[in-house]
Symmetry: C3
Subunit: 313 residues, 3 copies
């Protein structure tokens, strides 16, 4: 079929360990394209990539577009707000209409869990889930895995803590799945109201206190507090969240010296992360953004699969 | 001048029978580009296509952009809502400003009848009418003609019924003009309030009852009920429209077995068309979308006219 | 570093006379690209240009995009309104995130004076100020200088009047700086409420009456009255502005026969400029738009600086 042996990238849950490694290895070979003098390879010339975002996200959309353009694919960007296609039209009809224009890949973000999966079943094009509800955000997890491996040399055996609103975070969910598959030990941390009901079934430990949670960890992944997504009753105020659960210099004293700090962005400075930490020497937040382009190049390339891996111009 | 002998494509009314056939034949040769492994020909490399939509339309805009990109043209997409160009500026000034940047084609959709014609008189670039008010939508009619010819082998002598709000539909108007030129026999059908005053002068028959209207027809073209465009007093409710004028399995019993069902999209399922019919074996709705890209490639190619027809790389 | 010896183009204030001349000369060699049959050179192939507009501006954004595409650069267009990147994120964070995707140029428009300068200090990419608050709009001034030189053969020694709301106009400010550097004599004109406090320190003369102001001038540059930007109390009404300060046929009687009329667009017809004047033989308004693409090609090319000047394919 293609180099990924999947038509779509819908979630980390679907991927074998070998596939995850293939994506990370491929991304490694693509990373240098973005620092070349000519930041472009002809690999996907004549391929069409549609980005269709039902929720706004400049960061992820731009990263996918940049990835597609650096592979010489054509990109068309649709947003639900500007889309009359959506008026009175079912999601499946929209998908079938896009398919009828013969794109190679449809990158979709949707507020409903499972929307990309539904679309994937009705189109021949490869579908990339760029975030569906509170379910999965696989390209984010893959770029996080890539960044961890790049900084730490490995993932297996590492101790990782994910901090914040775990129960409403697709980033957390995809990362937990990916980190567990790659053999990392995962702890989650945050207010009890933000922890999933059955954390044990995810194979993670729960430690509420942030100081205790960061102890002995190799990777400290802090999530964005998404005021727009959750109800307001999960914690009393931003100030209280910052005081009790924010990651700042005081919390970091309890962490290992070589722990890396990650965040999917955009950072709410002074809420979940203090500026001191976000801009500190252990922060790899901007590396994550850089690696995002490389990982998405790998995803597009492997899904379209015109060439053999390693055969990058 | 170019292969079309017109600077612009403003309406089906302007086109000779030979020109329509030239466009359909050219589209036929472009259709296979979109199913190639490399979906791109260098035909319009170095040409600039501006899409300027004063009314939102993801479907048509995406189709034109896809067509332009598959011909290797550069595309720039403007929308009136994001456009400060429009603030306090006349339509002609906007057009002259766009012209000053030397585009080759301006694709425009506007809520006012005649807006593309006005622009066409003030610019050197080719102007493509992508829908003006309730006047014309020529690329839609051309892709419909293409689809009919593809499915039926011919257009001349066919019996076609167009069903819905004929008097407010630019799709109906362009199709009636095109079908009549190509020698089809056209019937229109729908509530009396939605029929044009002088149907006879258009060379069409009027049959209100849908069951009678579909009888003996080769092509059943159902229009979208555009709630946003018309007043609400043309029919009492959507439910009543669906019951009395919707095309469903019961209506289709009166049609020929090999009649094809067309719809310009997006479909209001359960209103003008039942799902049973929209998804049924006689439906060619998604073929219309696919053919739309090919027909728009032909339009752009012929208007720019850098190469002789047939000389597609 | 590159051919401009600057990483960024932030304002005319920063540019030496030699640099301005280099940009204008380079633009001259690029101007013919836009009238070629194939309007494209491979000069910036594999380079990425991000346009990021916090204020809407189709005209300037389209001009930059057209310029980038005609140089074969990849373009990605962001707007603040559609940007979740901006939510709860500082301008510097946004800039660093964009940088992490390795663009070559970031073109930015922002309502705050100094925003592009702030960004420029935090990114490796070249930053082009496409208008910041009431401070500068350097690419507009450069295209104006280009147009003056093209029409008049020189700039040194010319008499130029800039008319309108000088104190709130970044176009006026950039032009005054550029014209003075190039050796032109500059007069400003308009209601006293719209004149800057210390006009003399800018090296310009103030003449309120428009008929007196246009006398003996080689260039009459009329600014757009920006109702959206200023308070309403600078003049009683548009009608009164038009009557006392609008440039119309009556005012033009006092001007030299070979004076050229300029305007940055979009024109408020009948307010700051009558149609008679805007469309008259002395108007070079549309030449400004055409030259804008060439000047922006030169800016992008010189900032990226992959090739030696003159070595345009």
């Amino acid at each position: 079929m293609n180099n990924l042996n999947y038509k779509d990238l819908l979630g980390i849950g679907q991927l074998s360990l070998e596939t995850i490694k293939l994506i990370l290895d491929t991304a490694e070979s693509f990373k240098e394209v973005s620092i070349r003098d000519i930041k472009k390879v002809p690999t996907l010339r004549g391929k069409s990539v549609i980005t269709f975002f039902y929720e706004p996200s400049t960061r992820t959309r731009t990263s996918f577009e940049m990835a597609a353009k650096r592979l010489s694919a054509d990109t068309i960007s649709l947003s639900a707000s500007s889309s009359s296609m959506v008026k009175g039209e079912t999601l499946i009809d929209t998908a079938k209409n896009l398919q009828a224009m013969n794109p190679d890949i449809i990158v979709i973000r949707h507020s409903s869990t499972g929307a990309p999966h539904l679309i994937a079943r009705h189109v021949r094009a490869g579908v990339v889930n760029a975030g569906d509800g509170i379910n999965e955000h696989p390209s984010q997890a893959l770029l996080d895995l890539f960044t961890i491996r790049e900084k730490k040399g490995r993932i297996e055996g590492l101790k990782v803590v994910i901090m914040g609103d775990i129960s409403h975070s697709r980033v957390a969910r995809s990362n937990i799945l990916g980190l567990r598959k790659m053999g990392a030990e995962v702890t989650i941390s945050g207010p009890p109201t933000m922890m999933p009901d059955k954390a044990e079934s995810l194979g993670v430990k729960v430690v509420n206190d942030p100081r205790e949670a960061v102890k002995d960890k190799d990777v400290i992944m802090v999530l964005r507090i998404q005021l727009e997504r959750q109800g307001k009753n999960l914690f009393p105020s931003l100030r209280e969240y910052a005081a009790y659960f924010g990651v700042n210099g005081n919390v970091l004293k309890y962490a290992k010296d070589d722990a890396i700090i990650m965040h999917p962005g955009p950072v709410n400075r002074g809420v979940e992360l203090s500026s001191e930490v976000a801009d500190g020497p252990r922060s790899v937040i901007l590396d994550q953004v850089t690696n995002g382009v490389a990982v998405r190049m790998a995803i597009l390339y492997l899904l379209i699969g015109g060439l053999r891996v390693g055969n990058v111009d």
